[in-house]
């Protein structure tokens, strides 16, 4: 491991294979030599962390599936059996349960990193889109998975979310019946949800590959947001510099993750989901998992059913237009005095929405939720286009190496 040269070691078997299937050349190119900006900060750790959590989710999920039964009469008890009787079943389940929360935490940080440093700007628009596709697939997967233990919140969450589609004019009802495979959320629904919950993570793996192809085509953005291709001194090989940094970050992350798994495994959960599903009784409060709360708040802020559903989906889809809504040539918020403030306000707005999503939608929380929803869209539709037109950015450094020489920090 003490190699300083980045040439792969000569090895007969490796060469024999590589001549026929250049997998080693490929890996060497993308994971060792891959030129990376030398100034990446810790916010750049979250992409690889997301990838690792994805692997953890797939592994823990496959082993859970060996003991899970997708039938309305057995699903709840099979999960309880995993918790009580299956060797280390409790560990597998807590890893998977908390892993979902960790996955969203990591990916949300990853996305906000992109928002702050303008990683969605040319030439990374498709990279950004692929990231959003991953986010949508993740939400779908998490929703489907949450239904599987067949507790009260599983059942009623599934009912409310599938009913969103009934807002579609004309074809809404037939679509919902089709999604259910019956006239309510029932056994056919549970079966297909399990099938899809198993499938989607592998689709995510595929999109992550494309995400990485797009990333490696133009390379990583960096905290200064300037192009690093011009100056060869601005880049360093990925290995060992960033492999080490990523591994260090992983260690810190795992401490936090394990902290939840072992000491507060139900911290993110809802106690009602330990009550078996009852199709004839709605729990007094239906709340989604924390990572969906901001979107849920947007849904509930709009008094009209169809408009609420459109606003909720629109809140995600508007992110696809971000590269055009924000037309500023400067990527990094470091050099954009006004955008930088907007970024923090927007982040606060998302947190406020998340808080509202967990409250009863009446009185002050409802009002605050409405204002926060309005601001969410105002940010994208009005503020960003205007600011990117009229803001005067600070001068950009020529290369990563230059600002170090003539420092003038604000």
């Amino acid at each position: 491991m003490s190699t300083t040269s980045n040439a792969p070691k000569k090895n007969g078997i490796v060469e024999w294979i590589d001549y026929r299937l250049p997998i080693f050349t490929f890996m060497n190119h993308e994971l060792r030599e891959y030129p990376t900006p030398k100034n990446l900060n810790y916010w750049w750790n979250f992409g690889s962390l997301a990838g690792i959590v994805l692997v953890v989710m797939i592994l823990s999920g496959i082993f859970l599936a060996m003991n899970y039964t997708a039938h309305v009469d057995y699903a709840f008890v099979s999960v309880e059996r995993i918790m009580r009787d299956v060797n280390y079943g409790w560990l597998l389940r807590y890893i998977h349960m908390n892993g979902a929360s960790m996955f969203f935490l990591v990916v949300y940080i990853h996305i906000f990193r992109g928002l702050y440093y303008g990683s969605y700007k040319p030439p990374r628009e498709i990279l950004w889109w692929l990231g959003l596709v991953i986010l949508i697939l993740m939400m779908a997967t998490a929703f489907l998975g949450y239904v599987l233990p067949w507790g009260q919140m599983s059942f009623w969450g599934a009912t409310v979310i599938t009913n969103l589609f009934s807002a579609i004019p004309l074809v809404g009802e037939p679509i919902v019946t089709w999604l259910w495979g019956g006239f309510s959320v029932d056994n056919p629904t549970l079966n297909r949800f399990f099938s899809l919950h198993y499938l989607l993570p592998f689709v995510i793996v595929g999109v992550v590959m494309l995400h990485l192809v797009a990333l490696h085509t133009h390379g990583s953005n960096n905290p200064l947001g300037i192009d690093t291709k011009k100056n060869p001194k601005d880049s360093i090989p990925f290995h060992p510099y960033y492999t080490v940094k990523d591994m260090f970050g992983l260690g810190v992350f795992l401490v936090i993750y394990a902290g939840f798994v072992f000491f507060a495994p139900n911290f993110f959960g809802e106690p009602v989901n330990y009550v078996p599903a009852n199709p004839l009784q709605t729990p007094s409060e239906i709340v989604p998992e924390w990572y969906l709360l901001p979107f849920y708040a947007i849904l509930r802020s709009v008094p009209d059913k169809l408009a609420g559903v459109i606003a909720m989906f629109g809140a995600i889809f508007i992110l696809f237009l971000l590269p055009w809504l924000d037309s500023s040539k400067v990527r990094s918020a470091t050099f954009r005095p006004i955008y930088k403030q907007l970024f923090w306000i927007f982040l606060a707005d998302c947190l406020v929405l998340g808080w509202c999503g967990a409250q009863h939608p009446e009185g002050a929380p409802l009002l605050i939720g409405r204002l926060a929803t309005a601001y969410y869209f105002l940010h994208f539709i009005v503020l960003l286009p205007l600011v990117s037109k009229f803001e005067k950015p600070r001068p950009l450094p020529e290369s990563i190496s230059t600002p170090v020489l003539k420092t003038e920090k604000a």
């Binding site: 019956g182 006239f183 309510s184 959320v185 007094s284 509930r300 939608p361 009446e362």
Partner: protein, 188 residues
């Protein structure tokens, strides 16, 4: 597709326009045919997700309503979802019938919603996002209009099950039902 056909056609007959259109046509026709075929082949897969024959077969429920006293509300299960049977009081019926229809979000006369005025039969699923409204049990909140209240996002229904306030767009639906005798209803 048409572009590659074009390219090979120009190769085959330099300077000839005729072969080009013929090949373009064949290529287009073949593609359209294959596309339509693929779309048809997709249908069985999509339709397999619709309710199966046995699910459809479970679709009537008979209820004995003789034990339901006036003012009492009872929930039965039909097609996996709750059906509310409400033995309404005179006051509730009068309230439901006194409403000015044109002010309603989903205008419907109470007379059209109940085959017999004292018996209201409805699917007890909120038309917003599918929660079960409260009001069936003694002590449940019944909302601002004395009917039902959906706790999920705050929809209020009146004593005819019509939406009066909150995000739900429609009245609680009336399922197909008929009175087999004076004390027995068949739902579905």
């Amino acid at each position: 597709m048409s572009e590659s056909a074009h390219a090979s056609a120009t190769h085959g007959h330099p300077g000839h326009g005729e072969g080009e259109t013929r090949r373009d046509f064949l290529a287009l026709a073949a593609t359209a045919f294959a596309g339509a075929g693929a779309a048809c082949a997709l249908w069985p897969f999509i339709d397999s997700m619709n309710p199966a024959a046995d699910t459809l077969a479970l679709s009537t429920t008979d209820v004995d309503i003789s034990p339901i006293a006036e003012g009492m509300r009872v929930t039965v299960k039909w097609r996996g979802r709750p059906v509310f049977i409400d033995h309404r009081t005179k006051k509730q019926i009068d309230e439901a019938r006194a409403v000015n229809i044109s002010e309603l979000r989903d205008p419907a006369k109470d007379e059209d919603r109940a085959q017999k005025a004292e018996w209201l039969v409805m699917v007890g699923v909120c038309t917003h996002l599918g929660c079960i409204p409260l009001g069936q049990k003694q002590g449940d909140p019944t909302g601002d209009f004395g009917g039902w209240f959906c706790p999920c996002h705050g929809s209020h229904y009146d004593t005819s099950g019509r939406i009066r306030k909150g995000p739900a767009p429609l009245n609680l639906p009336v399922p197909p039902y008929k009175f087999l005798t004076d004390t027995s209803v068949s739902i579905g």
